[in-house]
Symmetry: C2
Subunit: 255 residues, 2 copies
Amino acid sequence: MTDGQKVGTYDFVAEPFHVDCNGRLTMGVLGNHLLNCAGFHAEDRGFGMGTLNEHHYTWVLSRLAVEMERMPKAYERFSIQTWVENVYRLFTDRNFAVLDADGTPIGYARSIWAMIDLQTRKPADLLTLHGGSITGYICQKECPIAKPGRIKVTDTAVVGAHKALYSDIDINGHVNSIKYIEHILDLFPIDWFASKGLRRFEMAYVAESYYGDVLTFSREAVSDDEYDIEIKKNNAEVVVRSKVMFGRRPSSPQA
Amino acid sequence: MTDGQKVGTYDFVAEPFHVDCNGRLTMGVLGNHLLNCAGFHAEDRGFGMGTLNEHHYTWVLSRLAVEMERMPKAYERFSIQTWVENVYRLFTDRNFAVLDADGTPIGYARSIWAMIDLQTRKPADLLTLHGGSITGYICQKECPIAKPGRIKVTDTAVVGAHKALYSDIDINGHVNSIKYIEHILDLFPIDWFASKGLRRFEMAYVAESYYGDVLTFSREAVSDDEYDIEIKKNNAEVVVRSKVMFGRRPSSPQA
């Protein structure tokens, strides 16, 4: 199998209600597309949710990092490539490239996934599952953004709160991975998205939250443009940690 | 032109992060698809946003009513048909059918739109615009659901509040039409969506709201299964009225 066959490519258009006040695709919608691409790619190769659920396994997203030169504009066509970078016993690294209509990269993403046995709730050994067939898809393709780093929030003053309601909850009864992204970005002034630009966004999914849980948000400034976020549920357990980095690279066109 | 050519048909699949806790497409996502289909259909026929903006006009959604026998399930393929039912001087009626993969209708929607002159902010005369060419697309196709009715909320006790933040705001700087749908459905207990089922949803867009506006929600029970909602901004102007009807028709399969 060539590396070309190992990479899945999926086409999108930035829909008019999926862009923000600056006419740019939102990070939440991009995150949704990335997760869908992961699903398509895995399903097409025999290790997707549909196949796994029959065998009582499911993928669980552990980390996501997205770094964009620019976000697609309303009505702009773009594509997302995804591939498996590494497979370890308990985790796999899946990377993404976001390309404009000409095939030029405008951003990249990295994600880390575990597989859970739905009956025992324990992680599965990816190297032995299905005879380790997933390792056949490992692909050496460049992903020139930093790996998700450690996020540590020491200032736990609460800067926002949200009660998880119907619209937050996914098919598994958990708060939707994408909804956390929206709630986190809502902690920032709207004009920053135009004046500074959102450059990098990281999520660490630590625990699940559920309908009725009160999510509280703490935010610590690492610099003027870099913020670490922690979400707790019901003032106790940490659910999500996130890093939000504003400020475009000097080279970035935001045209 | 035959009625077949006047109807636009667009294919979708219910994405895994677009379904609710019952594995059913959310009303917000369906609403987004309906509005996109309206846009595709109008653009393909020369009276879409892209064409209009060049001439300083834009479509404004005034009313939306959606009534479903059932919502598509996760990963289910479905299609949306849309057509123009009527054109009046200041408004046009656009209808929709939602079809399962076999082409059987599983729901319908009605919408009412005005066209605004962006320079004067006044409504445009649809019967004379572009030589009245939109009237050539009027189509006699069945839409067997009631038209949007009058919604009147007399009990204005506040049952919920939401401050409009970054994620709520669309490219025009207004709270996104779809976000209102999510916020309204969040007023109801999550188990109702499984036990009663959401049958009909109506929106009347009365005024715009903006970043930082505090939206307050009032809700009045017409019956155990029917609720009228009013959203005000900053405890003053009414922004949206909505009617939410639970309870499946006796004939409806929710399989």
